[in-house]
């Protein structure tokens, strides 16, 4: 009946699919990764960059858990910047320009070196299931593949429809076919599906661009890697170029607005508010007389340039006219035009927090199919879906990260609890405990978890243990060392003390930095990494705020510990309004904490639920007592 058999099948080899397949294979499970084109594994469909604020946090967390995005981004990176350093360390976030071809190459290399992982080029046309359980998949060529778990990561391919001006045609990405058969299968399975839209800007030929008129944007002189495992030093190989639109350009856009499928009603799907197309920016922010444009090279061996900030669905002739009015781009040649794409997604309230669908057991969804946008968001979900598919096979409890543990946990909780009506992107403001969720402590938070599920290799683990040791010794030195106030550090800053203060009390002064104390020899230490210093210093400098946050996290954990059984019948719970009961039934919250976050759930309805669960507990206690 079946031609092949695997423990885990992953459909789609984008950023979600690669992490999912790698994770499951690392856990020792026979894993097949299906892609329609094996040359385009880990293709960056949009901008040639990884990370950014909150997204950089996601990459760090993926890395800490034993995922691969951070390693690949470090190796294929061609310009590195740490963002937000003018603020506190909780919101520092790494970002890197990537060599697109290099990224694909490095990722494929890592996947090929992963034991138990098999790359397969084929179009999947059907997910086979019976009695609410996945049994396998069917390929276009008629073969059937058996598997009790399937991770589906379709990106923009599911019923993908590209719009360029008045023209529209089915495609997964420009130049690649859409997944039509698979889309019918998902719609027929009865999921709550919808349509979303995203867009991408034109790409230019560097030889036709006058870069001398732009303001260059350089990488950091001391690049920050994504991965805790990257030990080689990183090198900036390119720079980006900043410019702005002006009113002349806005006039062109306004004049041609009727030809934008966004405004003609041709596009039904909802696009992201924080990644608007250039025509959206001009319409919605009428008083803004200029919008930022950043030219980003797509690699070191190519002339192709990405025009960041000019995502559009306007017709090609209008795109050309806009470019021709921009200083330095007057004679720019387009390699590829910008376009908008609509695609199917599944309302993520159809998922459990393990990313398994509630309807079909063994089927996991990750990435844009869950209504998200961004490589990092996709990779984070892919990793968790891969891990949970693996745990499903081995019979382990699903791994679910809490809102107090990781950005990944926040993202998944937001999705499965609230659903989404626009492409969901991560922001630090979504993290109510963001002071604790820093890039410098992602390993402390997550590497032990990654180790437990079998993702963290021995080498990775040894490096982690080493760093923890280093951090422990540094913290101890900070607490125990009293400084010599005659040291030139204090004299040169005319800081006077009555007695010999400890390092810890010195660090509470905003103007004193641990890095300087170490550099100038006030505190003697072993060789440290910059982030060791950040971790140790942050704990002391912002102790008051961190403690305040810890209290809140404690409250959250208590509420999370109040579990709600899967089989609660909300419709028969007296006192709950029909609307509330329906919401609870749809989301099926796992804890009273998750229930409290469902929009429209009132304190009174939470009390009713809490009360009922307590009653059930009493009843089962008294019954077991009778037995």
């Amino acid at each position: 009946m079946y031609d092949e058999k695997y423990d885990v099948v992953v459909i789609g080899a984008g950023h979600a699919g690669c992490e999912a397949a790698h994770a499951a294979a690392r856990m020792g499970l026979a894993t097949a990764l299906y892609t329609m084109n094996a040359d385009l594994i880990a293709q960056m469909s949009c901008n040639p960059a990884v990370g950014g604020i909150a997204k950089g946090h996601l990459v760090r967390e993926i890395d800490a858990l034993g995922g691969i995005m951070g390693l690949v981004a470090d190796q294929a990176g061609i310009q590195f910047r740490l963002l937000n350093t003018s603020r506190g360390p909780a919101v520092w976030s790494p970002r890197a320009q990537e060599d697109k071809a290099g990224y694909r190459h490095v990722m494929r290399g890592i996947l090929e070196q992963t034991p138990n992982l098999f790359i397969k080029q084929a179009e999947v046309t059907e997910i086979v299931f019976a009695d609410g359980r996945v049994t396998g998949i069917e390929l276009l060529d008629g073969r059937r593949v058996q598997s009790q778990t399937v991770v589906l990561t379709t990106g923009t391919f599911l019923n993908g429809l590209i719009h360029i001006g008045e023209k529209q045609f089915p495609a997964g990405r420009n130049g690649e076919p859409a997944s039509i058969a698979l889309a019918s299968c998902i719609r027929a399975a009865g999921f709550n599906w919808g349509r979303l839209k995203t867009g991408t800007p034109p790409r230019l030929d560097r030889r036709t661009v006058d870069l001398s008129v732009f303001e260059p944007q350089y990488g950091d002189s001391n690049p920050t890697p994504f991965s805790f495992r990257t030990s080689t030093s990183l090198e900036n190989k390119i720079c980006c170029y900043v410019t702005h639109t002006d009113e002349k350009i806005h006039d062109v856009i306004r004049r041609n607005m009727g030809r934008s499928p966004l405004y003609s009603g041709q596009i039904q799907g909802i696009g992201p508010r924080y990644c608007p197309s250039i025509e959206d920016k001009v319409v919605k922010f009428r008083d803004k007389d200029r919008h930022q444009i950043v030219l980003e090279p797509e690699g070191v061996d190519t002339h192709e340039i990405y025009v960041n900030g000019m995502s559009t669905s306007l017709p090609i002739d209008v795109q050309r006219e806009i470019l021709s009015k921009m200083k330095g781009l007057e004679s720019a040649q387009m390699i590829r035009p910008g376009y908008a794409i609509e695609y199917d997604f599944v309302q993520p309230t159809d998922l459990s927090p393990s990313l398994e669908t509630k309807k079909i057991r063994g089927l996991f969804l990750a990435g844009q199919i869950n209504g998200t946008t961004g490589y990092e968001e996709a990779a984070g979900q892919g990793l968790m879906a891969g891990i949970n598919a693996g745990l499903k096979v081995t019979g382990g409890e699903p791994l679910m990260l809490g809102r107090g543990d990781a950005y990944i946990g926040i993202m998944i909780d937001d999705l499965v609890t609230k659903g989404t009506n626009e492409p969901y992107r991560m922001f630090t403001s979504r993290a109510e405990f963001r002071l604790n969720l820093r890039i410098d402590n992602a390993d402390t938070r997550l590497t032990p978890i990654g180790r437990r599920v079998g993702l963290v290799t021995d080498r990775h683990w040894d490096a982690f243990v080493e760093r923890q040791g280093r951090l422990g010794r540094l913290r101890q030195a900070i607490q125990e060392t009293r400084v010599d106030t005659a040291h030139s550090f204090f004299l040169s800053r005319s800081l006077e003390f009555r007695d010999r203060p400890g390092i810890a009390s010195l660090l509470r002064r905003p103007e004193i930095r641990l890095e300087e104390l170490i550099r100038e020899g006030v505190l003697a230490t072993e060789v440290l990494r910059r982030e060791d210093i950040v971790s140790a210093e942050t704990d002391i400098k912002y102790e008051g705020y961190l403690k305040q946050q810890d209290k809140e996290v404690e409250k959250l954990r208590k509420a999370e510990a109040k579990r709600l059984p899967d089989d609660l019948d909300y419709s028969r719970m007296p006192g709950l309004s029909r609307e509330v009961a329906e919401k609870l039934t749809r989301v099926r919250p796992q804890s009273i904490a998750q229930a409290s976050r469902i929009p429209g759930i009132t304190p009174a309805s939470l009390s009713i639920v809490l009360f009922h669960v307590e009653m059930l507990r009493i009843r089962s206690h008294s019954e077991s007592a009778v037995q």
């Binding site: 901008n47 950014g52 604020i53 909150a54 963002l83 937000n84 603020r87 506190g88 909780a90 919101v91 992201p272 924080y274 990644c275 608007p276 920016k281 919605k284 922010f285 803004k288 919008h291 930022q292 950043v294 960041n308 900030g309 995502s311 922001f427 630090t428 403001s429 979504r430 109510e432 963001r434 002071l435 905003p510 912002y542 705020y545 305040q548 946050q549 809140e552 409250k555 959250l556 208590k558 509420a559 006192g575 904490a593 409290s596 976050r597 469902i598 929009p599 009132t602 304190p603 009174a604 939470l606 009390s607 009713i608 809490l610 009360f611 307590e614 009653m615 009493i618 009843r619 206690h621």
Partner: protein, 459 residues
């Protein structure tokens, strides 16, 4: 945003409430339940022998400054052998609502929180202390919560508080959105004003919140009534005045429980505001120990009153004892009543150094309306704190307002100290969630929506 969590009633905290019906009664019981119950008892209840499971022990309840509040009987019930299944301490005190209120206040000051309606029963269920049929009574808890919500909703529909707070809340959301945009969209060209300028934006927000909070002084009078202490040396006619004020049908008051404390209370109404008169024992230097207790109680009553009515005997000249009484009330709003104006006058107004006084006869009722006018004048003065018809009347609302104001002040000063914005935002979210409790929730999506409608963000 700390979404959702505030909606959950925590069963881990120690709770306290007056568990006998409110109002005058011989004995009032305050019940404390939770893991800190015993610890709080040890702290505030001074007893000769230590608290023991199921033993009633006589003692004196003190406040956190060590001042005695009342002679009480404390009974401790050790978990799980108590009504709620947790450690429970029951304090039986005299039934004066003011005394019971002070006991609850000290317990709250020690870290407990006021119990939600029906919460003791809910805990009993949670700890397996009730069978299912009994537990149905816990519906009361849920109903009460629903009712309270309905009340809040009703008030919101009427809109007065929401309307008053909305502009401040909107401004706060704007500031938060701006700071968040600066953090999350540092890559875009989002302009964030400098810290000092943002901190300045909070001044009018704080001011407008304080304006609302200030009305609680008057609102509390509306809700709880004006507490008027009647004060004077013995035999000036305080009790007759008291009887006259509270009306003829209340003339026989000696049966009212609480007389043993030598503080009589009774309520009447002026302009829709309930007035509570506290008749006190005569105030004078005394060596008589029993009388001394009465005098101490009189002063305690005075310290909790909103205003004092000082009674002098108009048929006699002002003496040292009168002067002493006058000096006790000097620091608070008061009206001087020269009683017995039906008798030949012996006291001259000039001897009162120009203080406003009214001449009455408690016996005939003459001049009583002038006294009412004087009290009304005091109320009008309070009312001037109220800018429009809106008044904050609810203690919980007042506490939430104070929390919002405190958090904003903290955030503002942190900004001036250039504390990183993601930390300042902790204070601002605290303030916002406090305002949200009063006007309706604010969630992360609202902040994001504000960012995206204010700033052109994205590439």
């Amino acid at each position: 945003m700390r979404e959702g969590l505030h909606k959950i009633v925590s069963l881990d905290e120690t709770i306290v409430a007056i568990s006998t019906p409110l109002g005058r009664s011989g004995i009032g019981v305050v019940r404390i339940s939770g893991r800190d119950a015993l610890c709080l008892g040890k702290k505030f209840l001074k007893t000769k022998s230590p608290l023991e499971h199921r033993r009633a022990i006589v003692g004196i309840w003190h406040d956190d400054r060590g001042q005695s509040i009342d002679d009480v009987i404390g009974t401790f019930f050790q978990a799980p052998h108590s009504y709620t299944g947790e450690d429970v301490l029951e304090i039986s005190a005299h039934g004066n609502p003011m005394i019971l209120g002070r006991i609850v206040a000290t317990v709250c000051g020690g870290g407990a929180r006021p119990a939600a309606p029906g919460e003791f029963s809910l805990r009993a269920v949670a700890n397996g202390k009730m069978d299912l049929i009994q537990a149905e009574a816990v519906r009361e808890f849920i109903d009460a919560q629903t009712e309270r919500q309905a009340e809040v909703a009703r008030r919101q529909m009427a809109g007065s508080l929401s309307n008053r707070l909305r502009p401040a809340k909107e401004k706060l959301i704007d500031s938060i959105a701006r700071l968040e945009a600066g953090i999350d969209f540092a890559e875009d060209d989002v302009e964030v004003p400098d810290d000092g300028a943002i901190a300045k934006e909070f001044d009018p927000i704080i001011e407008s919140l304080e304006e609302v909070q200030k009305t609680y002084g008057y609102g509390r009078l509306l809700a709880e009534g004006l507490r008027v202490a009647i004060l004077g040396k013995p035999n000036v006619g305080k009790s007759s005045l008291f009887n006259r004020l509270v009306g003829a049908e209340r003339a026989i008051v000696s049966e009212i429980p609480g007389t043993t404390r030598d503080v009589l209370t009774e309520a009447v109404e002026i302009d829709g505001i309930p007035l509570r008169f506290f008749d006190t024992a005569g105030v004078r230097e005394t060596l008589n120990p029993i009388e001394k207790i009465g005098v101490i109680r009189a002063f305690e009553t005075l310290s909790e009153a909103n205003m004092a009515v000082i009674v002098l005997d108009g048929s006699m000249a002002l003496d040292d004892e009168d002067r002493q009484v006058l000096s006790h009330a000097a620091g608070m709003p008061h009206v001087i009543v020269i009683n017995k104006c039906d008798l030949p006058e012996a006291m001259t107004s000039s001897s009162l150094n120009g203080s406003v006084s009214v001449r009455v006869s408690a016996k005939t009722g003459a001049g009583i309306s002038c006294l009412s006018d004087a009290i009304r004048g005091f109320l009008l003065e309070r009312q001037s704190d109220v800018a429009d018809d809106f008044v904050l009347t609810n203690m919980r609302q007042n506490e939430v307002m104070l929390r919002a104001i405190g958090a904003l002040r903290e955030g503002s000063s942190a900004l001036r100290d250039h504390v990183p914005h993601e930390m300042v935002l902790l204070n601002l979210y605290d303030a916002l969630s406090a305002l949200g409790e009063l006007t309706g929730e604010v969630v992360t999506e609202d902040i994001l929506a504000r960012i995206f409608s204010t700033f052109c963000i994205g590439k």
